[in-house]
Subunit: 201 residues, 4 copies
Amino acid sequence: MNTKPAARPGRPRDEATHRAILRAANRLLHEAGYGGFSIEGVALRAGVAKTSIYRRWPSKGALLLDLYMEGLAPATLEPSGKKVRQAFAAYLNQTVERLKDAGWSNTLRSLVAEAQNDPALARLVRDKVIEPRREDGRRLLEHGMKTGEIRRNVDIDITLDFVFGAIWYRLLLGHAAVDEAFARRATAELFKRIGSDHAVP
Amino acid sequence: MNTKPAARPGRPRDEATHRAILRAANRLLHEAGYGGFSIEGVALRAGVAKTSIYRRWPSKGALLLDLYMEGLAPATLEPSGKKVRQAFAAYLNQTVERLKDAGWSNTLRSLVAEAQNDPALARLVRDKVIEPRREDGRRLLEHGMKTGEIRRNVDIDITLDFVFGAIWYRLLLGHAAVDEAFARRATAELFKRIGSDHAVP
Amino acid sequence: MNTKPAARPGRPRDEATHRAILRAANRLLHEAGYGGFSIEGVALRAGVAKTSIYRRWPSKGALLLDLYMEGLAPATLEPSGKKVRQAFAAYLNQTVERLKDAGWSNTLRSLVAEAQNDPALARLVRDKVIEPRREDGRRLLEHGMKTGEIRRNVDIDITLDFVFGAIWYRLLLGHAAVDEAFARRATAELFKRIGSDHAVP
Amino acid sequence: MNTKPAARPGRPRDEATHRAILRAANRLLHEAGYGGFSIEGVALRAGVAKTSIYRRWPSKGALLLDLYMEGLAPATLEPSGKKVRQAFAAYLNQTVERLKDAGWSNTLRSLVAEAQNDPALARLVRDKVIEPRREDGRRLLEHGMKTGEIRRNVDIDITLDFVFGAIWYRLLLGHAAVDEAFARRATAELFKRIGSDHAVP
DNA sequence: TGATAATCGAGACGGTACGTCCGGTCTTGAC
DNA sequence: GTCAAGACCGGACGTACCGTCTCGATTATCA
């Protein structure tokens, strides 16, 4: 059994180049934000030819999306034995922690900005960024309904719009910080609405 | 008492030019979206010199903001005798109605995208777009608390983040439509627990 | 008998404005040369409206020409009792002296540069700047022929092309200075064979 | 032995693009003169991006200079066995012939006009246009002095100023044509002054 | 071992738009 | 009718990036 992909003919892609691009992109996004983020700038900083970027990513947005995927690990939203409320609180706290990194928050903000331009990217963002989180949330809520932590008459979609929406809203419009206080209050308010009376001791 | 503005020296700005720019900008935004929206394109379509645009608006974003301000009228969110729930429902329906216009929704989406670039614009957007709506909402909720329609323990800020956030979230990420169904379900969900038990007969 | 021009209706032109424009133009030409010379710049420096310049001069070139005419006085080239050779030497020395002023030399250089653009100006330059000098020179040479200082077989036009040409050539191409040494050597060379053998003792 | 130039990295410049630019520039200069000569216009006519022009020439003037260098061939001024007088006459006739082409004369006139703006260009014009011709002339005159065709007391610099000056003077100020009659009369007048008595039979 | 092929860097290519400058004209209210 | 002020349309400037392309050189697989 061979885990290696079928070796293509020709010179293989250089892993180092790949990493250099992602690192440079992250750095540029961190320092200059969406406005200062250009393929040309990334290539320059990475010491890489523009071609080497376009060979891997068809557009600026695709690179941004990969930047997101690369750094994804932390935030999880799963019914992992914990109480539903605790799982939500943990997710929000991880998110808050993650967004403290300017590179990361700029990546997300740029991704949305770029998607306003680029329908293909918009679809990818929905499929890779938005839906997986919603799916996690949906499963968690349904789990909570079974355990009795969540009331049965909750409108799951709208509830997910409320909680994820609040995060994006604060992130993109910037009228208030996405911080620990937000995580705490959002969780509290969420469960004030959706928690079963008897489930919250 | 003089209502006329203190006549500035020099040739006054041409109102027709002003309107032509806004109209052309709207049209372009309607047809080509954020990606196809350029000062040059607006100037061309309006039959106006680029300088005439830059004289009025320092940046693309400032023009977008004015485009928003111009078309503002419809959506209101006031405790105008009606029940709080009805006021919210009316606001969401007006918003839904408004966003059916591609020009208008592109204006809002572009405004947010552009603001990711431009901190000065971001501040203006918060002051002119975000905060006024939040303030309306805040007043309405407080009014509802007095009348007993809204429970006293509601976290107003977070609640506003939930409901406005959901709108922006759907608008910008596009995973679901901002339509009548959304308005209905969001209102319902909002009042499921936010409303005092005895206030909704 | 009235020397005053027939009084036109309306507010008379302001002499001070006129002078302010010329002074500012000269200053700008002195400091920034042809490249930095713009009607807009002159208006700004003179504290005058652009209109007030265009009312008086139809184009940049016309203003430059007037700048030349204003400062004309010094250089004369007349058979004023002196020997022809002395008259020429005096003319060249006056010219050299005049051109030491950067404003003046820039005026002349700009006038020629501008005339390459503007046939109407080119004609004016010929009529007001070139021909009068040539006419003076022609009269002087003819006078010299009568007195025997200048040989009869001299081609006057070509001779004038040689001597005035040399000045413009040095002024515009800048390969060598238009200075006292030039004046001396040019006069000497001019009279080496142009002068009758017996006329120069 | 390798005559190939050390191949620079990257895609080599396209010779066709280069030629298209020069051809378009020449055409534009021919048709519209200095006033109508713009980088933008050249790019449009050549079907070339503006950047492709700026990549090669840092300024309008640099392009004009290359236009001059490209079309240089014809005029020679060398002591090629001929008599000095004949060499001068030939040079002037070649120059006259060359200047009949509006493209060529506009190139020279524009070059001088532009150089009034641009000290760097002025220096290049002196080095590439003015001095080589003067150097040819200087060698020719010195050669003539050795053969006895030119008198020993001639001031070479001033003589060159006279004859080249006359050409530029007529070209730039336009008070008289640079034509065959001019060539003939200028040669005659020149040798009336500088020719040794015994050398002109 | 040598042909084939995809990679690498570098950088040229045609484009689009940027934001600015200046040209020359027009339009105010005040004088 | 002039004045200062300043708006108007238009053309060009020089720059930044876009995404594509063409080079010579390098590094792999496959015959």
